[in-house]
Amino acid sequence: MRTVTSSLTLWTTLCLAALALNGCGGPTETSGNSEAPKTIDGGTDAPDQQDGAPEVAEGGPVEGDWIVIRLNAEPSTLNPHLEAAGAYTQRIIGGNGGNIFETLLTMDNETLEFAPLIAERWEASEDHLSYTFYLRKDVTFSDGVPLTAHDVLFTYEAIQNPANDCADRRSYLTDVESAEVLDDHTIQFKVSKPYFLNLQVLGSIEILPRHIYGEGEFNTHPANRAPVGSGTYTVKQWDTGQRIIISKRADYWGEKKPWVNEIHYKIITDDNAAVQLLRRQELDELRMSSEQWVRQATKPEIADHYQRITLYSPVDGYAGSFGWIGWNAQRPYFSDKRVRRAMTMLLDRDTIGETIYHGLVRVVTGSMFPDSPSYDQSIEPWPFDPEGAYKLLDEAGWVDSDQDGIRDKDGVPFRFQWIFPSGSPEYEQLATVFKEELDKAGVDVTLRPLEWATFLESVTKRSFDACSMAWVSPYLSDPYQIWHSSQTEKGSNYVSFINEEADQLIVDARTEFDKEKRDAMYRRFHAILHEEQPYTFLYNSKRKVVISNRFQNVTPYTLGFDMREWWVPVAEQRYK
């Protein structure tokens, strides 16, 4: 799992923090709004109904036109392996198909199974300790040079080289012992222990060209801004701070080629400016906040020209995300699960979801993607029940013994600080509403919205009482990083969740290659999480996006959009 707010600039953070917490489109479609928002529900339930979608044009797909997309901030690099790479880097170089760089394997849009891309087939040994990839022989980089197993090895070694600024990517590969080129089109990786995600880890490395990166300093290589990859597009132009343009490769080697000639990524920092551009139809795609979605996207100047789509995939390539409030179990008040549960019961998630998020979110009870079999659908969220919560707090010994309005126990008053990343209006709204409920319960909370870098340091050093952020989850995910007791010191188990049974389940699942058995383990683990409430789980929210009516065949999949499928009828093409 990756943190949602993972990227480096504030704008990324803001955008993504908002994205994870302000989903839209869901069970309660209207919120007292007479104009029910018309949406395409791209969740897994009903991906087919499209409102405001263009009439299907005659004839088959044709080439041409551009897509103009807004970026909230400029990516610092287009080298996906550098630390500096963030969500925007990924957006430009990746996409579902791999705009610039490609990986050995891809995931099928429909079946969500691994599918060939650069590798035409792959083998895993019986003991799950060695993986062999057989590459296609016709793969070329955009400069015409063929892609071979040597490039794969080169990329692997570049990531493992401590001199290169890739510590983050390197940490994914700690279990990989060696890589060996068997012949020009075959490469074999050996891993130290079996792990069900190893295939995904190895299959999702973006392959860099050895003949370009072989010379020069990796971290500052000019190709980091003018990359050469094997993907469907190449970078045509980068006007610093303004736009990045990628254009279609004429000589693309693969079968699934995109129809759209160019993708323009326009850097627009201000949300209101972006909406204005949308109204002037100078943007073809825009992601919106829940408030914008309900109040602006429904107006004719937008609704008449754009398809409005909601889907649970927060960014292309990921299935879902969820926001949470984590209770630091090392603090006297949160070490008791009754107190943590009381906290959850004091938060009116349903009302907040209906009002602040306009009903376009769903409450989650565990960390797995709600539509996956690893998630136990039968678990009901703890209800909003202040009276019940007061009783739990009393039971746990937190009573107001000195009559000062604040509960206390053993002389410790129930006074804590709650940190969350600043800049997300939805978070702040939720926080202030929660604070009122806590005040009534005799719990004193100080809200501390922290600027992202400061926030991360506090979280990493465990110097917080309660903290909030969001995780985005890939389709296949492993709870080890967030929940295993070994991760309490330095890993992502910030809240020091320690539970023996959970530890055992997590570890066993890592070597369980039978998906159904693994899912069963995860569902049991989910039940433990629910019981223990190390987090107050918030919402799995939808991405709300408008896409110009010109584009045909826009399908929201579980893992997001596949822009290679989009096309524009000749008559409607706007850009040459």
Binding site: T351, D404, P425, T432, V433, E436
Partner: protein
């Protein structure tokens, strides 16, 4: 010395006579006085806690100001007096921090005079309470600046020589910084608290004051009464702060008045960028911040806090301008 302070009193009387003739400036001072008063009596103007309460056969005087043990764990959220209770409530019966999600972003109405914000809080109540915060931020920030500036300026002007040169260099250093970026860095790196905002603004605004004080001191240093004071064996400190400083205060007062206006604007800009007072505290900048997301459909969140800010800042500036005119003998007609 007595003569000196006597002259000083006469001087201020003169200034006041001049000042009175400037209608705009006078009106501004009245407005500022009203705002200060509003800030001061905020608990009586807006809030959910009654001013006077009789409940369960007990009576409470001013529970909105004093805390009563009986009421400590009682919430007035949505509370209505029962048949046996008596309650005199503030004019606007909504606490500035009390949200009501079912009434988000409602336009001005009889119930909510200036509408509600993005979590259903009463905007009128928030603006009244925000007066407190915004004025305090402005005045305290400028107070810090004046304190530093007066000390640095006095030292530089009184001692001259190396002390003067050093302080001038420091002033130059601070003046060279793009102020807003400096404040932003300070706030971003410190905690986002109201105190840090005041300190950061204060730390960047003192050089103007220091230069003014230094200039006045240079003029006064060689004046007869200074020499006389020194000759009587008074300590440097005493001469500086008892005898020289009062004479240098006039320009400082003008600079401070302008400075408060600037500080209020800076606070609102910081809030806009998300570095303002932490929630749920109300400040004008904080209310205005919401207009960023809601500019198109909630004019009341854009207009009212905007008016509060610009009226106050204009008033401070006009008052400062009037004061400057009144004190400047050359501008007198």
């Amino acid at each position: 010395m007595a003569d000196q302070s006597h002259k000083s009193q006469g001087y201020w009387r003169l200034v006041w006579r001049q000042f009175k003739q400037r209608k705009l400036a006078l009106a501004s001072v009245v407005l500022l006085a009203v705002l200060c008063f509003v800030g001061l009596i905020a608990p009586f103007l807006a809030g959910e806690v009654p001013i006077y309460l009789e409940k369960d056969d007990k009576s409470y005087l001013l529970p909105n100001v004093f805390s009563y043990t009986d009421l400590v764990s009682f919430s007035f959220d949505g509370w209505e007096p029962g048949p046996d209770d008596t309650a005199i409530r503030p004019l606007i019966p909504y606490a500035p921090e009390r949200s009501n999600l079912r009434h988000r972003l409602e336009p001005p109405s009889a119930e909510h005079w200036l509408g509600t914000d993005d979590r259903g809080r009463d905007v009128m109540s928030r603006i009244i309470w925000g007066t407190r915060i915004s004025m305090t931020v402005g005045v305290v920030a400028m107070g810090i600046a004046v304190l530093i500036g007066v000390i640095a300026g006095s030292l530089a002007g009184y001692y001259g020589g190396a002390v003067d040169a050093t302080i001038l260099r420091i002033i130059e250093v601070v003046l060279c910084f793009p102020t807003f970026i400096l404040i932003l860095s300070l706030i971003a790196f410190l905690d986002p608290s109201i105190y840090n905002i005041m300190i950061a603004i204060g730390l960047t605004r003192w050089p103007d004051v220091a230069r003014l004080v230094r200039g006045e001191f240079l003029k006064l240093r060689s004046a007869d009464f200074t020499t006389a004071a020194r000759a009587t064996g008074l300590s440097d400190m005493r001469v500086m702060f008892r005898h020289l400083l009062p004479n240098a205060l006039a320009p400082v007062l003008v600079a401070a008045t302008f400075g408060v206006a600037g500080a209020i604007l800076t606070e609102s800009a910081l809030s806009f960028l998300g570095f303002g007072v932490p929630p749920p505290t109300a400040s004008w900048g904080e209310i205005l911040k919401q207009s960023k997301e809601n500019v198109e459909f909630a004019y009341w969140l854009v207009i009212f806090p905007g008016i509060a800010i610009f009226m106050t800042v204009t008033a401070f500036n006009l008052a400062g301008e009037g004061l400057r005119d009144a004190m400047d003998p050359r501008l007198r007609q």
